[in-house]
């Protein structure tokens, strides 16, 4: 290859890759575009403070109130439950698969877990409603048949492979030399795993956490089916709640006329969700940078 042709190839490839990356920016611009237009129209009718700090959410009712807090708490409640399941369970599974399990077990179990990620979310919704909730009700008789707990748990199971698989890859990629170094100092497998391998794989693990968290907050169908679609300002996981996503899907697939204020709410809620996750991601990015260990 001549020098100029090689340079040209490199330049072209780089530009092509850059275009791919720019794609993500375009998507964001698109999403923000979709959201902003209607959101602005929404806030022309509803004061932003009513929206952000109001505690009653009844936009579809004749005496419409637009306090989004019940949806926010619902979202946070369900996501928190899901995270409480998915993060520890996913990380532990990953540690087991990468550091303890025989290669054969790992080869079989990992893809099996990944099946969990592919089950349609509608199915998870019904699983939560028809299987998990009744099961939980035998333990907690006061549990209402729609509640935050059951979809939270099921959502945790659904995003578990996201955490376990991606973290496992990150753990697996830590050079053996580091493990050997730790073992040679008299570390147990646990110490090696938790103090050397996990920190070295921190970047990958935290990426899996972030994806999982984003996924939990953005998940729609499970909550729409099993959480009850009842906008309530509550922190009680036993009671029915409605999440921001469940509300959005309810309106956008329902019979509300487009262009009405009721329809516009979904964009305002969507925008808020976008801002929330963005803040969350900013924070986790900062954390991640602080604790990342790079190996050569």
């Amino acid at each position: 290859m001549t020098r100029t042709s090689r340079r040209w190839t490199e330049w072209t490839i780089e530009r092509a890759l850059q275009a791919c990356a720019a794609g993500s920016v375009l998507i964001t611009v698109g999403i923000i575009g979709v959201l902003v237009f209607e959101t602005v129209a929404f806030f022309r009718e509803v004061p932003i403070t009513d929206f952000l700090f109001g505690t009653v959410w009844t936009p579809q009712f004749s005496d419409a109130q637009f306090g989004v807090l019940p949806l926010v708490t619902g979202t946070l409640l369900v996501s928190a439950i899901a995270m409480a399941v998915a993060l520890p369970a996913g990380l532990l599974s990953a540690i087991y698969l990468s550091e303890y399990a025989p290669a054969r077990v790992r080869r079989v179990v990992k893809p099996v877990l990944e099946v969990l990620a592919g089950v349609p979310t509608v199915v998870y919704g019904y699983f939560a409603l028809l299987f998990v909730t009744p099961l939980l009700q035998t333990v907690f008789p006061t549990l209402s048949s729609f509640n935050a707990l059951s979809p939270g748990l099921v959502m945790g199971i659904m995003i578990l492979p996201l955490v376990s698989s991606l973290s496992e890859d990150a753990l697996h990629a830590v050079p053996t030399g580091l493990r050997e170094g730790a073992y040679a100092l008299g570390s147990t497998r646990m110490q090696t795993a938790l103090r050397v391998v996990v920190p070295a794989a921190f970047s990958g693990i935290s990426a899996s956490f972030i994806l999982a968290m984003s996924r939990a907050i953005g998940e729609t169908m499970i909550v729409a089916i099993a959480a009850g679609q009842q906008p309530r300002l509550t922190g009680n996981p036993m009671s029915p709640v409605e999440t921001m996503t469940a509300y959005i899907v309810q309106i956008s697939m329902g019979d509300t006329p487009t262009g009405s204020i009721g329809y516009r709410t979904i964009f305002a809620v969507g925008m808020l969700l976008f801002v929330m996750t963005f803040t969350l991601n900013l924070a986790s990015d900062w954390l991640r940078r602080r604790f990342r260990e790079e190996y050569a």
């Binding site: 532990l92 990958g204 169908m221 959005i248 991601n281």
Partner: protein, 284 residues
């Protein structure tokens, strides 16, 4: 203090806990699968797979939905895989650690949290209307590709990060260009991780319902899509449709549909898993 016993206990504890957690997850999966299987297995036959939808549960089939899912998934993969890997490579290998690159990175993580229905709205105004694709396979696949992209990009970036700098140095020192280094050294080393991301992303795409309904995927279609511009439906929509009907017989159809979807998914994953295994072995 680490007496032998307490050390062993700690080690055991972690191991036992991990196994327990893993076992619980597998039990949950088994419960889910059993639940579905016991509802749907006897509806599974060739007739079910090759028939068109019907208001009679017993004669209804999934043919258009199955073909539609395959088409859409193909489009999604063709778009999301190169785009996602390309973007990740750019950001990780070319983008530098600049503020802009970081902002893009955060932004991508953020995209993973956008509810799928919003992607549906975007797909509707962008692909269906602005690009005049109509509610076609192409529009559906493109919409799902948007949805799958963040997972592909993020997991690919992380996989690229695990490739040690010394491997890149070795390649550069032999007069390899940056792209040659990426193509011959970095990507092969990162492949297992990339494949994991692809599996997860495609798994998500194949199970989505809401955004496709929004862009106008159909619930009743009496022919299978025959090209990129055909109208289409997908399995999850068919399943969703069936579970919302009052007649209990349709719930069994839905279960059978889920089984087909899972088999489809497993088959796709199997390919990636085999590849991943091979590359991971080669790397050691």
């Amino acid at each position: 203090m680490s007496t032998r016993a307490s050390r062993l206990a700690g080690d055991r504890l972690l191991q036992t806990m991990s196994i327990l957690v893993l076992a619980l997850s597998l039990v949950a999966l088994a419960a889910l699968l059993y639940d579905i299987w016991s509802d749907g297995w006897y509806r599974l036959d060739w007739q079910f797979i090759t028939s068109l939808p019907s208001r009679r549960a017993a004669s209804a089939g999934i043919y258009p939905a199955l073909v539609g899912s395959l088409y859409v998934l193909l489009v999604t993969a063709v778009l999301a895989v190169p785009l996602g890997i390309g973007a990740a490579v750019y950001l990780e290998e070319y983008g530098g650690g600049g503020r802009f690159a970081r902002l893009i990175e955060i932004n991508i993580a953020n995209l993973a949290g956008v509810p799928s229905i919003i992607y549906g709205l975007l797909g509707l105004s962008l692909f269906v209307r602005a690009f005049q694709m109509g509610p076609s396979v192409l529009a559906g696949g493109s919409t799902l590709a948007l949805l799958a992209l963040p997972v592909v990009i993020l997991s690919t970036r992380e996989a690229l990060r695990t490739v040690p700098m010394s491997a890149r140095e070795g390649s550069y020192a032999l007069g390899a260009t940056q792209w040659q280094t990426i193509w011959h050294q970095v990507l092969p080393s990162a492949l297992p991780g990339i494949l994991t991301g692809l599996i997860l992303a495609m798994s998500r795409a194949i199970g989505e319902t809401a955004p496709l309904i929004t862009i106008g995927a159909l619930a009743y279609l009496d022919f299978a899509p025959s090209g990129l511009m055909s109208p289409f439906t997908v399995l999850p929509i068919q399943i969703y449709n069936w579970v919302s009907l009052p007649q209990p017989a349709f719930a069994e159809n839905a279960a059978a549909g889920i089984i087909v979807l899972l088999v489809l998914l497993l088959t796709l994953n199997a390919v990636a898993v085999v590849l991943r295994d091979r590359f991971q072995k080669a790397r050691q």
